[in-house]
């Protein structure tokens, strides 16, 4: 039986056959890689599974524009317009110098269910947080007060955590002299969200600084509670403040008590510490009638104008 010859082999050897394009990726290795990838994906799924669909809740952090809003409540019914203009001018000049904003509320702007008009400051402060959701601080300054030192700023000279750490009054009765509730001794400057001063009668609600945020909203809304407004506190919102500060630790834990002259010097020393040149602000609290207040303010208005012009 005759068989045909084999066809002659090509003299050049064929290249070594490879199944896959990439070298080194054999079937078995692919399998291992696939298995490892699967295991990795499973692990990732397990780790990231809970609440994967929604970002966890985070409090809104204000961007700090403007850094400070200066709030003053004006009583147009009782005070002359020239006096109020001078007060407004004082605030606006200060705000312009540092890039702050001002907010002037008027008594009667808000419906308060027949509560005393001094409550306007609290609700107006809440309004400021609505109007300026990105402001960092809110400084409430009473109408019968003047900013005397334009160089001093809120964020650098008043609310700076390092400065607060030094200057805060710790472990001291909130309402002197005999309140058993004392400011926390372990409070740190960066925890302070509400800066307040005391005078000889107790807490002073004529000049305070509040840091914007969720806590600020909670605090103002709690302070403005209708049940406090209807309670006939003798000194209205001031006594309500003393009440919530003493009864509610979440508020006390954010309260920084500082020396009175930081933001709240008095024109005379009868009720608290007297103004000294260089203090940020002066308040006229001894005057009994609007006209008396206007008269008392006159020399300070001139002084502050001079200070603003020279600076």
């Amino acid at each position: 039986m005759h068989l045909a010859y084999h066809s002659r082999k090509a003299s050049s050897a064929p290249p070594f056959p490879r199944g896959a394009k990439m070298p080194g990726l054999r079937r078995s290795r692919l399998k291992v890689i696939a298995l490892a990838g699967f295991a990795l994906l499973t692990l990732l799924y397990l780790v990231t599974k809970p609440n994967g669909r929604h970002t966890p809740y985070k409090e809104y952090t204000p961007s700090g524009r403007p850094p400070v809003v200066v709030l003053t409540v004006l009583d147009e019914a009782k005070y002359s317009s020239t006096y109020l203009e001078a007060i407004k001018e004082n605030r606006i000049q200060y705000a312009e110098k540092h890039g702050y904003k001002t907010f002037f509320a008027k008594v009667g702007d808000y419906d308060m269910n027949n509560a005393p008009s001094s409550w306007t400051s609290v609700v107006a402060a809440r309004h400021v947080l609505t109007q300026f959701p990105d402001c960092r601080y809110l400084w409430f300054l009473d109408q019968n007060a003047l900013i005397m030192n334009p160089q001093r700023t809120i964020e650098a000279h008043v609310m700076d955590p390092a400065r607060l750490d030094e200057g805060m009054i710790k472990d001291y009765p909130v309402v002197p002299p005999d309140s058993i509730i004392k400011t926390f001794s372990h409070l740190r400057g960066r925890d302070v969200e509400f800066l307040l001063t005391q005078d000889k009668d107790g807490l002073s609600s004529g000049s305070w600084v509040l840091k914007n945020g969720e806590w600020a909203r909670f605090f103002l809304e709690t302070w403005f509670d209708p049940l406090y407004r209807s309670y006939n506190f003798q000194k209205a919102e001031t006594h309500a403040l003393e009440h919530i500060v003493q009864w509610h630790p979440t508020i006390l834990a954010r309260l920084g008590l500082v020396a009175q002259r930081t933001v709240n010097s008095y024109s005379t020393g009868d009720h608290g510490e007297a103004y000294q040149p260089g203090d940020l602000a002066v308040r006229f609290i001894d005057c009994s009638t609007p006209s008396a207040c206007e008269k008392e303010a006159e020399p300070y208005i001139a002084q502050s104008r001079a200070a603003f012009q020279s600076s």
């Binding site: 397990l46 309004h127 959701p133 909203r217 809304e221 049940l227 009864w247």
Partner: protein, 460 residues
């Protein structure tokens, strides 16, 4: 004869001496020298012959002699195997002769080995995989593994939930705590214990006995606040705290809180109270000095900002079953929930104390409203027909077993209703609804068929 240890007696009498062929001693072993022997000599003769025939080979078998005859079948299927145990058993002289290597005689294990030997590698792998799968299922569901899986924060997440059960209400101070009260407590506690054991949650049973805790005022039923605070401290991993009154019963223990509510919180809750508003609370608050979120009927709309989840019954908020989330917001709420000035003005009106105080806060405080959400009552707090019964049965309020409601709250049963009766019937109903497949087979199929065939009711 010297042996390292004495030979052991075998049941038939006499001594089994492995490897010992000398038959000179032994009390009951017959010997040829024994003259008074009445035993049949034939048997002994044959035994002797056998011994002489295969001396040294310890088998008395007359059949299956030779390697091939013995192992033919096994060689045709697999490699031969020797079993010493079997051989040892065969050494008993007086036993009827058996075939040591016959197929019927093979142990199950051996046969299985045979099957395995004939099996291909692929099939083996498949079987191994199946076996592992079954083992995994068994391991997972019959050992505590499933418990720890469900409990771990990043797996099942059970540690994120703590149930506070308010037990010992009144503590027997105001009224007698009799057998029925104890029984209610026992059943309720057992119900919750089983539930948390199933899902890996934590259970905190708190003592609600009447005490004068504070120096100058009664803060009864505001103790909730203290208990919630303590639990947050005690269980640092807890995210949600579920408050439960004593007169509650979890009807469907197979529902996990995650599946039932929290995985899809936004789908289940409603934040706009106008959806169901028995108190006619004006919503949203429209004061012009408030921001957009405060004025929005649904807050910021993000389910993660919900920090309080409760339900409303026919007369307003119900705090028999509610959830709170660990958050700074919760600290603030717990702090202002009780306030002496509010209490002084309102305690005559506040019939339900802390519940009314919360309603007051919700009504007047925008920051509370923004973080509060409501669940349809029957998701966490179904009522029996006795409660809220002024307007008859309400599908929003009352328990319906066809819908398999999660929890029953026998609210107000202590005023003129039978707490223990309700608890008992709901307990039995829950068992009935959650029977296992075997019980279902027995009771719903066999018993029914039997009754149809014979006409007699059968009790299983």
């Amino acid at each position: 004869m010297s042996l390292s240890r004495s030979p052991s007696p075998v049941p038939g009498g006499g001594w089994a001496s492995p490897g010992l062929n000398i038959n000179t001693s032994g009390r009951s072993s017959p010997s040829q020298a024994y003259t008074g022997s009445t035993a049949t000599p034939v048997m002994w003769e044959s035994a002797r012959l056998k011994r002489a025939g295969n001396s040294g080979y310890p088998s008395f078998s007359t059949q299956n002699k030779g390697f091939f005859t013995r192992h033919m079948r096994r060689i045709s299927s697999s490699l031969p195997r020797f079993s010493n145990a079997q051989q040892h058993a065969e050494k008993e002289k007086d036993k009827p002769v058996r075939a040591p290597w016959s197929v019927q005689n093979l142990p199950l294990l051996g046969r299985l080995r045979g099957i395995m030997a004939r099996m291909g590698r692929k099939m083996k792998m498949r079987l191994l995989f199946l076996f592992l799968l079954v083992m995994a299922v068994v391991l997972f569901y019959t050992t505590p593994l499933v418990y720890y899986w469900r409990r771990t924060t990043w797996l099942g997440g059970g540690q994120k939930f703590v149930i506070i059960l308010a037990a010992n209400v009144g503590g027997g101070v105001m009224e007698w705590k009799g057998a029925r009260e104890w029984a209610i407590e026992r059943d309720s506690v057992r119900n919750k214990k089983r539930y948390v054991n199933r899902w890996g949650y934590d259970l905190e049973i708190v003592d609600m006995s009447t005490k004068k805790r504070y120096a100058h005022e009664w803060r009864e039923s505001w103790e909730k606040v203290d208990f919630i605070r303590n639990s947050l401290k005690k269980y640092p991993k807890a995210e949600w705290i579920w408050w439960l009154d004593l007169n509650t019963f979890i009807m469907e223990p197979t529902y996990s809180l995650q599946d039932h509510i929290f995985n899809q919180l936004d789908k289940h809750v409603y934040r706009d109270i106008n959806e169901y508003n028995p108190l006619n609370i004006t919503h949203p608050i429209t004061d012009p000095y408030l921001d957009a979120t405060s004025q929005s009927p649904i807050g910021d709309g993000n389910p993660n900002s919900v920090n309080l989840v409760l339900s409303q019954d026919c007369s307003g908020f119900n705090l028999g079953s509610f959830f709170v989330r660990r958050s700074p917001w919760l600290d603030r709420l717990l702090d202002v929930w009780w306030d002496p000035v509010a209490y002084e003005q309102k305690h005559m009106e506040w019939e339900h104390k802390e519940q009314d105080a919360l309603e007051q806060l919700y009504t007047t405080q925008p920051w509370i409203r923004q973080h509060t959400a409501f669940l349809p009552q029957r998701m966490i707090n179904s009522f029996p027909t006795g409660a809220c019964s002024e307007n008859g049965n309400d599908t929003r309020i009352h328990y319906n077993q066809d819908d398999r409601d999660f929890l029953v709250n026998m609210a107000g049963c202590e005023w003129g209703r039978d707490c223990w009766g309700e608890m008992y019937s709901f307990r039995e109903l829950s068992y009935y609804l959650n029977r296992n497949p075997w019980e279902l087979f027995k009771e719903d199929l066999v018993a029914v068929l039997w009754e149809k065939l014979t006409g007699h009711k059968v009790k299983l």
